[in-house]
Symmetry: C2
């Protein structure tokens, strides 16, 4: 049901290479279809948007924007336990992300120079929310809350209409908890294009975030540069490193929590204990048999998962840094001791009471994380993802006078004489 590998310096490396290849590239055909949709929306605006909505969603919602009273109704009708759970999660997410907020700075000197960096929130952000079973209320919180903390004034949510032209009330409840009031019932590549260019109804945004199917992801990728986008996420993945002290039942449960996402998901255990490896395998079998989503789990475990037994935990750390996993659990006796040596991971879960789903929903750090080894250079979604910076320079005559000869020297060395002249022209008597 799952690959079992004894690390020997070769087999585990080969396995890691295989796991790396799973992120599928966008087919040319999808790119071509999405390009056409984008171009049609760019020139056609609302009319094109409604045409596509009728074509793909089989209905045109009227009105396109969800009225406030409908949001209020959904909140009043919500299961109070669910509503409170979301509010508690939102509070934790807010508290953690507030620590990420950065501010600008100013530099001055005796010559009267004033310089610095302004930091401010993006003006308007679009949040894509998938329809149907692909909708996760937790994703609404994880995307919208950092944007709000960054100071984004206007968050525009788009989500495809349901078959009757309405909307899943849970989406409205999640939007309410996240503080979103502007919701349009459009979806697919056409909704992404509408956010990028703006239409008569849909406001033009500066950045588009949120998960979506291959058409949504391709539209975001193609529109990158016209707007900013978040990362295009690959399939989910977890790496657990565990020593003799770990509980195999917990290890298996945590691996399954990723394996159930989809058939491309990956769950890997690296341990220095053959006993833990064997016991976890048994637990995986037992728990998979009882799992409601066992069809998905069986496939992702067989195709993209593994238990690797290595000689010592140093090798486990090396492999973790090589894999740069989205989620990394450290199930060892002294888990915090590993924190300084783990170089590459989206989010690290330390110890037996930090299962990965705690981070998916609740603890506070973001669950939008770099996948497919990109934690080597990408970071989790954060308040920073919704900030922009501008530098500013205000020199005095005295300060420019002091800098003059150096600037002219470098500019002329670069052959950029008009650059040099813009300095010289300010000190005509000295040339």
């Amino acid at each position: 049901m799952i690959n079992l590998v004894k690390a020997n310096g070769t087999d585990e490396v080969k396995l890691i290479e295989t796991l790396r290849t799973r992120s599928g590239e966008t087919g040319r055909e999808v790119s071509a279809r999405v390009s056409e949709i984008i171009e049609t929306i760019r020139t056609g605006g609302d009319k094109a948007l409604l045409d596509y909505t009728l074509k793909f969603d089989k209905i045109i919602p009227d009105p396109l924007q969800v009225p406030q009273h409908q949001i209020d109704q959904a909140v009043q009708a919500a299961d109070p336990v669910f509503l409170q759970a979301l509010k508690n999660a939102a509070e934790n997410i807010r508290r953690f992300h507030q620590k990420q907020l950065q501010h600008g700075f100013t530099v001055t000197n005796e010559d009267g120079v004033l310089m610095g960096q302004k930091v401010r929130g993006l003006h308007r952000v679009g949040l894509y929310v998938p329809g149907g079973t692909a909708f996760y209320p937790s994703s609404v919180l994880m995307n919208a809350i950092p944007a709000a903390i960054a100071g984004v004034k206007d968050i525009v949510m788009v989500t495809p209409p349901s078959k009757n032209g309405g909307v899943n009330p849970d989406i409205l409840v999640a939007a309410y908890v996240a503080g979103i009031t502007k919701i349009f019932l459009v979806g697919g590549a056409q909704a992404v294009a509408a956010l990028a260019f703006g239409t008569e109804t849909i406001p033009k945004v500066d950045k588009i975030v949120g998960p979506g199917n291959i058409y949504v992801a391709t539209a975001k990728r193609l529109l990158y540069g016209i707007v900013d986008i978040d990362m295009v996420a690959g399939p989910s993945e977890i790496l657990v490193i565990a020593d003799e002290s770990a509980n195999p039942s917990y290890l298996a449960a945590d691996m399954l929590s990723q394996a159930e996402h989809d058939v491309l998901a990956s769950a890997i255990l690296i341990t220095n204990s053959q006993r833990i490896a064997d016991a976890t395998l048994k637990e995986l079998q037992k728990q998979t048999a009882e799992a409601p989503r066992r069809d998905i789990i069986e496939k992702s475990l067989a195709d993209y998962s593994a238990i690797i037994v290595c000689d010592d935990m140093n090798r486990a750390v090396e492999l973790a840094n090589e894999l740069a996993p989205e989620h990394l659990e450290v199930m060892t006796e002294n888990p915090t001791e590993y924190l300084g040596r783990l170089e590459n991971a989206g989010s690290i879960f330390l110890g037996r009471y930090s299962p990965e789903p705690l981070g998916d929903y609740y603890a506070g750090p973001n669950h939008v994380l770099p996948t497919s080894g990109t934690a080597r250079f990408f970071s989790p979604l954060s308040v920073d993802s919704f900030l922009k910076r501008t530098s500013f320079i205000c020199y005095t005559e005295k300060a420019l006078q002091a800098a003059k000869d150096d600037i002219v020297c470098i500019a002329e060395r670069e052959g950029l004489y008009a650059h040099a002249n813009s300095i010289k022209v300010r000190f005509p008597s000295q040339n």
Copy 2:
């Protein structure tokens, strides 16, 4: 020689639309050729890299890596005035960028929870440096210094060999001032691909930065995701907003300093004063006639530049925010008063003694800036561009116990039962 527009709510908007369209898309042919080079390097390593070097650069440097004594010789032979100017610039750049360095944080609570965010520098970064006349020593400083401050341990420079297989000594001097010791004489798309995948000689990097021609830029774009890249920059641009108090000779000189970059560059003046507009036009004519790079200037002024006269400075600010220029000069009586209202710009230059080339070379803020209106959502290159973040969560039994019901509720609402189970399995007596 330059468009003159009286703002009437229509003409200036149309003009701005035209300027927006100049950023050329990569031709399919270039993409196809670069894709082939990338794939050949990925599978062929050093042998492929040397084959391409011989094909495109007509020579294979031996050794491929510049020896340290050659760097030392170039520094000893350098014009001491130029060397000192670069050192002074580097010191200013260092001092400004040090203010950008961010640190991680930790959150704790009474239930024993420990959470936080680690921030650290990328492990290894590649810096592309163009050869020939496209080489700018200032770019080496602007790219390498923020990386070093971020804590990047290993900066690898690549630059195409000159005709005799050597290297421009100014490149070595700039590398020395920036603290770079690892320089390989390879260029083009093949050098970018070598950095992304690693070869026997070229180390694999996490991010590739630096300017380059269309092949280099296309390779970076195609490899984005395998490695991180900096922005793919469009043509350079300056917007000057000026009132009656401005000096037309300075305005013209600053506009020309951008116009000389290349024929796609853009220089725009927006003023509420017809007198300033007329006087600046005259100065542009006079200074262009005397400019060594006047062939380029005449073309960029005619094609992508403008003087716009508007009714008041509020409209000038509106248009500046709409244009979101790479460089924005504020040549008004009280320039700092505008800082709070200018929403979108890469870098803002305030007052008559802050000409744009001061920022290109010397003051300290970075000169790698978002172009083509992307300052709406992108930021200047910074220390942050070379940092990665990892969040971590360490919960206690007590804390997870308190969170348990909320997490299970949300997970089950999302239909992710194995997620819920990873919590439940830790509290078996309570299910």
